[in-house]
Symmetry: C2
C-alpha cells in the first residue's frame, strides 16, 4: 500500500490526479491510499481519498504532513499567476515559503528516521519560470528568467527541491507544465483563460471572447496529460535526471488559428461561429511575453508524451469533462 | 553624500570594495559614507568606514540595516561553497534566508516611505549557479542548474532580487563573479584555493601544491576587477538590463599551463620551480564540475571588462597585495 499525499488536491489538476491514481495506481504499486490537502474540495469531487482541510501557509499543518511520512508527495498548491502578481506578499508567502517549511520538515523526518525516510516529492512547476525574449523554440538548457512573481516563486522552489534531493533528504522532481487546455468548468479571470474558453464555451453552446489575434502561438497539454505527467514523475527513476531535476514537459505548440481549425473539424462551423474576436490590449501584452514553443528533448527521452494534435486535446475534453459540464 | 552599506564588508572583496569607493567614490557621486557590516574585520583593514559587527542570520540586525535606509547596499555576505556543502542547514540559513529577510525589510521601508525609498541593491552571485554538463562556452542564456548548495542558494537569491526589483521595491542587480585570482593572504581550504596558491606562494618564495593536471581550464578575474564590477553595478542604468538582473561577469579563461607560463614570464623559472604537482582525486572531481569558459556578451555590452592576459592578473597581485603579504 503506497501512501500518497496531494497538496492542492482540491484543485482541478489535483482532482484529475487523484482520480487517475485511484483508477490506475502508481506504476509498480498495486494500491494507493490517497490523502488530499487543500483549503476546500469540490462537492462532487473524487470520493476516493481522505481529505484534510488546511492551508500551506500554516506551518504547523506542513509539519504535521511531514510527520505523517507519506511515500509520495505531490505539491500542486499555489495561488495563480494573476493573483501572485496582484498581491506580492501573498504570492511569496503562499507559493515559495511554505515549500521551504515543508522541505525543512521533511528533512527533519529524514534525520529522525536515520535517513530511511526519503519521500518521492513531485512539484508542479510551470513554463512561467521562463521570460522573454525567447528563441523560436526553448531548449532544455534555456535560462529561467521569469517576468512574473509566480515564475520567480516556482523557480526558487525548483532550486530548493533540487538541492534537498541532491543531498538525499527527498527524492524530488519538478515538472514544468504547459498551459493546461481545455480546462473544464466556468471561465475564470486568468489571462490565459481564453485558450480554453474558445473551445469549451462553443462546445457548451455558449459564446467565447477571443482577446488576441489568431496568429498567437502557445504551448498546451490536456488536463489528462498533466495528471499522467505527475504519475510518471512519481515513479520515474530519478537517477536518469542526472542531477537536473527540473524538467520541461512536452506539449503541443499551435496557433489560435490552428485551435479554431481543430474545433471546426471536431464540432463544425456552428461552434466556430460562437468565437467572438474582441481585442484586449492588456491581454495581448501579457500573452506576448509567454513562451510559444519548446524542444523538450530530455522529457521525451524519459518517456513523457503529450498530445500530437489539437483535435485530440478537444476530444479529451469531450470525453472526460463535457458530460459533467 | 551617498550612504553606502557593504554587508560582508570584512571579507577580502568587501575590503577591496570599501577601499575603492573611499578612493574613487561611486561614479557620479562626489563622496560616499561607507558602513561595513560583518562578523569581524581585519585589524589593518580599511579605516575609511563605519563598522557594525553582526551576523546576517540575526533578523533584527537585518531589519535595522533596512531602517537605516542606505542609498546603495552591497550584499557580499555568505559562507563559502565548501562550508555550505558540509553544513546544509548553515548554508541555507546563512546564504539564502537572510537575503529574504533583508529584502522584506527593505520592502517595508519602501512602503513606509510612500515608495520613495528604492535602494540600489548589488548582490554578489557566482558562476556556482551553473552546473555540468556545460557547452564549451557558457552563453548568457544558459540555465542555472547548480550542483552545490552554495549555487542553489545564490540562484534563489537572484530570483528574489529580480522579482523585488521588477516590482520596484529595490533597484537590484546580481553579478556572477568568476573565481577571484590571485586571492591575497594565507592558503585556505577552498577547493579552488590552488588557482591562487600556485601564483601567490611562489611570489612569496614558498612552495605551492598543484592538485590537478595543468590542462584544467577555468574562469578568473582579479580582486581589483571584482571591486570594479561591484562599483559599476552600483551605478549602471538598470533599465539597460531589460529585466534580466542576473549577469555573468567577464573573466579570463585560461588553463593552469597558461597560468604557469604567465608566472614564468613575470617571475622567472625559480618561481615556477616552487609549484609541486601532487594529484588529488577529490579536488580533480570537484574541479571537473566547474565552468571553464563563458561568452559574457551582455556584460561586455554594458561596459564590464576583466583582464585580457593572466600576466596582468599576476601584476595586479604584485602591485596591490604583495607589499602587504
Amino acid at each position: 500500500m503506497t501512501r500518497v499525499l496531494i497538496i492542492g488536491g482540491g484543485g482541478m489538476v489535483g482532482q484529475k490526479l487523484a482520480q487517475r491514481i485511484a483508477a490506475h495506481g502508481l506504476d509498480g504499486h498495486d494500491t494507493c491510499a490517497i490523502t488530499l490537502f487543500d483549503m476546500g474540495f469540490p462537492p462532487n469531487g473524487a470520493p476516493v481519498a481522505t481529505k484534510i482541510t488546511g492551508t500551506v501557509t500554516d506551518g504547523a499543518a506542513m509539519m504535521q504532513l511531514a510527520k505523517d511520512r507519506y511515500d509520495v508527495i505531490f505539491h500542486l498548491a499555489s495561488i495563480v499567476s494573476g493573483e501572485a502578481e496582484a498581491d506580492f506578499a501573498k504570492g511569496w508567502y503562499t507559493n515559495m515559503l511554505p515549500t521551504w517549511t515543508l522541505l525543512e520538515a521533511l528533512r527533519g523526518e529524514h534525520d529522525a528516521s536515520g535517513g530511511r525516510y526519503v519521500p518521492r516529492f513531485v512539484f508542479t512547476s510551470s513554463i512561467a519560470v521562463f521570460g522573454a525574449p525567447y528563441p523560436d523554440k526553448i531548449s532544455d538548457e534555456f535560462l529561467s528568467a521569469p517576468q512574473t512573481s509566480y515564475g520567480a516563486q516556482k523557480s526558487c522552489c525548483e532550486q530548493m527541491i533540487s538541492d534537498f534531493a541532491r543531498k538525499g533528504f527527498i527524492d524530488g522532481i519538478s515538472i514544468r507544465l504547459p498551459t493546461i487546455c481545455v480546462r473544464p468548468g466556468k471561465p475564470n479571470l486568468a489571462a490565459s483563460g481564453f485558450f480554453s474558453g474558445i473551445i469549451r464555451e462553443p462546445l457548451n453552446g455558449m459564446e467565447a471572447i477571443l482577446p488576441v489575434p489568431d496568429t498567437v502561438r502557445h504551448w498546451h497539454a490536456s488536463p489528462r496529460s498533466a495528471a499522467k505527467f505527475l504519475t510518471e514523475a512519481a515513479t520515474i527513476d530519478t537517477k536518469r535526471l542526472e542531477g537536473r531535476r527540473a524538467l520541461n514537459m512536452p506539449g503541443l505548440s499551435c496557433t489560435i488559428e490552428e485551435q479554431i481549425e481543430a474545433l471546426r473539424r471536431v464540432a463544425g462551423q456552428k461552434a466556430v461561429d460562437l468565437i467572438k474576436p474582441q481585442p484586449d490590449e492588456t491581454i495581448m501584452q501579457i500573452v506576448a511575453a509567454w513562451p510559444r514553443d519548446f524542444t523538450p528533448d530530455r522529457a521525451a527521452a524519459l518517456g513523457f508524451q503529450a498530445e500530437q494534435e489539437f483535435d485530440e486535446i478537444i476530444q479529451i475534453y469531450i470525453t472526460d469533462d463535457l458530460p459533467n459540464a
